[in-house]
Amino acid sequence: MSKMTKLLSASALAVLLAAPGTALAADSSDPIIIPTHNWSSQIVMSHVVGQMFEGMGNNVEYVSTDSQAVYESVRLGDVTLELEVWEGAFGVAFEEALSKGGLHDAGDHDAVTREDWWYPDYVAELCPGLPDWEALNKCADMFATPETGGKGRFLGGPVDWLKHDAERVEALGMNFQVVNAGSASALWAELEAAKKRNAPIVLFNWTPNFVEAIHPGAFVEFPEYFPGCKDDASQGPNPNATYDCGNPANGYLKKAAWDGMKDKWPAAYEALTKISFTNAQIAEMAKLVDVDEMEPEDAATAWLEANEDTWKAWVN
């Protein structure tokens, strides 16, 4: 870092530290409680935001929680906010909590999320025509295993992620059977093992995700998602079935906040509504931990140092 930028960042920090004093109402000295889950980008992002809040003079604490159960906790104010609300994975839990009241939508990230059937690169060589789903269907027997009989095996995420893969297989008349893994770790363990054997595999994956950095691959292209695909049978390629489409290729990534946050920590709340990360930034955060083996706290500090231009705008 040159002397000039050091000076600049020091003065930025000074402005930053003075900011809470100039705000109309001061933030409460109670800790802002940020939930962390079990994937690295979310943990680093939580620490990035937490350290930003600390820079503003707030107290911050982290608590690890289940990523589905967390919405109940945000609603009750047990945790203050949630930084990664994925449309596909947590949309249902979020909407449900929203209807019960107690939390609200605190704006979208720039990042878009996608969750769908995915394969590592080497599978494309084994099954030409990918990423088209019909081409995949033609290779179905290549993915067959003892437990699926003659059908191809699709390794889905845990059932509580509610992905409706089986319905899609049915609606599109695919020669596949869905086998649900019990956790994300199970997905990656099997991917790793399949790659070592060069065995064909098609599994559930999402972006942004650390897996992209280690195993390059691509999503299967299904008939494009359209509103109504999930509840109106008459639309889409199969006129008699719902779920005859892929998942949205650009799902939202939201932030959620406890209703009480706005009054208790107005300055932090203001910053939270402005925070917006991009896919590239989230991937970078994951990489710092998963590839560079940093601790999430240190990764967050490093990220903040490297990306001052981005976050300085949010805290002022």
């Binding site: 086998v179 790793e192 093992a193």
Partner: protein
Amino acid sequence: MSELARDVPAPVPALSPARVGQALFLLAILLAAFKFALPDGLIRPPEWLVWPFADWINWTFNFIKDDLGLIYVTRAIAGGVEWLLDITANLLYGKNRWPRIGPLPWTVIAVTAFMIGYGLKGWKLGLLSGGTFVWIAFMGQWKWAMETLSVIVIAVPIAVALGLLLGIAAWRRAWVEAILNPILNIAQSLPHFAYMIPVVVFIGLGPKAGAIVTIIFATPPMIRMTVLGLKKVPPEVVESGMMCGSTQWQLLRHVRIPTARTEILIGVNQVIMQCLAMVVLASFIGMPGLGQKLLQLLQALKIGRSIEIGITIVLLAVMLDRCSKAWAEMQPVHFERGTPWWKRNRLFLAWCGLTAGAFALAAVWPAAHVIKRSQAFTLSKEFDAVVDWVILMLDPISQALRSFLIVWVLIPLQDAYLWLPYTAVLALAAGIGWKIGGARSALICLAFAGLIAMSGWWDRGMITAYMVTFAVLVAALIGLPLGIWAAGREERARIVLLICDSAQTFPSFIYLIPVIMLFGVNDVAAIGAVIVFGMVPMTRYTIEGLRGVPPALIEAADMSGATKRQKLWTVKLPLALPTIMVGVNQTVMFSLFMVIIAAFIGTRDLGQEMQRALSATDVGKGLVLGLCVAFMGLLVDHLIIRWSADRKKALGLE
């Protein structure tokens, strides 16, 4: 000699347990054979038989939570626990809370641990205790380990105090024991996840929830051991206490509890072990520390790093186990009159000196205060290489085994379990019950199995049952010979028992991953993980059983010129059988716990639904599923305990 083990055939009366049992077996076979002719209501529980237990439980919980306002009480208690946790959290890892003096340097904690171990049993234990903390510090796991310990050092005393109080109450008042007993039975067979859901509702998330779920899990054995200990106090001791004019309280405090010391301290030991067993699971509801880190590392498939954490957990468990056992065995030391103060408190002074030294060192040399993650050692690369190598070596076998097992064993077995009409299973359960323990046992078995049918989770339950049956069978086939082999020599037995201890405390989540890499996401992997865990009690109890055979009987066999093989088959095994059956019982319990955890691999049984219930915080569903698992365990438990008690009586072992 062989007569000893053989049953004496007695004339069979008309309505003997055996007869009725046979009649019920016949009924079960008939129901299965004529399944095609049965009405649907006898094949699967009809709608009117499936009661909405989950809704009732949810209604009750909501009523006591909101209408009776219990949530304010539980949250207040949680607030108290949190205050205590904040103190230890500050001291151990410097969380910003009162008294704001921590974190203590790692060297201080390590020398303290060393002195405790040394004081309890000498150099060896001292090195184990101190060494554990040195390992933790050097591996850069200090903060996580302290986060874990900050919860454990609060949870253990609370669980011990609670267990002691409830135990004393149960010992004094028969009605308390009558109420407590069935609750304890169910609590000890309920899968962990089932009572984590109500804790989330009543307490919330975070370290306090982790501490409270740990306390709930760890208290039952303490209650049991307290009752056992107090009941065993000889009346002579109590009488002599009375003669000294003790009040009730003095009698309890100075006579009964000290006499029951050994049992009570074994209870403490159990509490500590249970607390460590919860380290990983409690992190699902926010307990910080090693467990949480472990799950994060596994999520990113860092097996080597997670093995390091697994080793830490095992070391902590072994150390705490040995220390608490040494404490239980230690007899009070008495000094002659006039021994100077410094001599009587030699160890205390040594500790003061060492601690002061450690503080001083930490003040001048930061690495003696905190070893940063970036300065720490790691063996993860080596562990990863070993795991990779093992998987590579086993790969050809595992692929063949996987296909064979799935196609020829597991799918047919599962289909058979699911094909059976539920009425046939109920008849079978009642038949086995009647055969072993007469009408009462038959009713108990019928009730347990019947409740599972009424829960509406019959098919899921049968899948769990099929996985557990197969896993227990294989675990017994491996564990039994292993135990027999190990019991052959004292040295071998010691080593195998040590491995059993470690395997039992090694976090099971870690070997889920290599098992998936070997077999893929399917029932083979799930059952494989269950077998690994289930083998432990099987091996342990086989060793204990064989070692417990009275030496006089073995000598008698030697004198009558029995060969080694004859001795084993006709003397040792029959005599050890009751203990070995307790091992089978434990294997069933362990397998039921593990099969629920195997849901993280991907199963289609009760465990998968339990996982759903946890993420939806559905208390009713979670408890119903948990009770289904508990009832299976209690059914087997009842049968084996009953059988083994009769057998022991017949063998004159008790």
